[in-house]
Symmetry: C2
Subunit: 138 residues, 2 copies
């Protein structure tokens, strides 16, 4: 495996939570939504369909684990999953807990509310809770 480098926007906007077999699991530093980002360890890829069939199967396992841990921890109304990558070309998949009371509901979250970073203590707590929950799901 060649050295992995995060796109500068993913490095800036997200923090590490856990390492799945295929993907780095990161938290979007925006307390408006509980929002995980999965980044498969293939820095040369842009599209989900560029993964091998085996990697795609593993990605689905990790999307499911991320979805279930958000649903369980936050009692969300809906999980949104998206692979867009129009602005950040490095392959990454959003898994977002949505609430009928959130500021973007029922639209998608991207580009609606400016990100509100967590306070440092809240961030550390949230990362730890998510890390434990993710490892329970995979």
């Amino acid at each position: 495996m060649s050295e992995f480098t995060f796109h500068e926007r993913l490095a800036r906007d997200t923090v590490p939570v856990a390492d799945g077999p295929l993907s780095f699991v990161r938290l979007m530093n925006d307390r408006t939504y509980p929002w995980l980002v999965l980044v498969p360890r293939r820095s040369d890829l842009r599209e989900m369909h560029d993964l091998t069939a085996t990697e795609q199967g593993q990605l689905m396992v990790e999307i499911t684990a991320a979805s279930r841990c958000l649903e369980r921890l936050f009692a969300s109304d809906k999980i949104n999953v998206g692979a867009l990558g129009n602005l950040v070309p490095q392959l990454h998949i959003h898994v977002i807990a949505r609430f009928t009371s959130d500021p973007a509901w029922p639209g998608p979250v991207w580009g609606v509310a400016p990100p509100e970073p967590y306070g440092s203590s809240d961030l550390a707590t949230r990362v730890e809770v998510l890390r434990v929950a993710f490892h329970q799901e995979v």
Copy 2:
């Protein structure tokens, strides 16, 4: 399998293209974007993670086939894949060909431009081209 019924909005906004092993493949009747919608034949489900692991694997095969056929037919700049379902609770997955020249770029497409239905002859042609291309990919 119990009788399958499309949510009224999916029935109204999309037209049939092909039947995959898991999902009905439908075309969004909006000529602004080449836009497929996969609807797994489980009308009781809301979330991708409610599918079994086997069904999730098949869904990924169908997402990949849909993505590749859009990319090949339309020489798109990016494929966007999304499972949102905030408005239409029946499980469905969007696979959308995006262009740097499209009206929503680089944002997501949902809720940006009002849908522009195809003319009936254009619609029939597009469905047929997509139907053949999808079956070549799966």
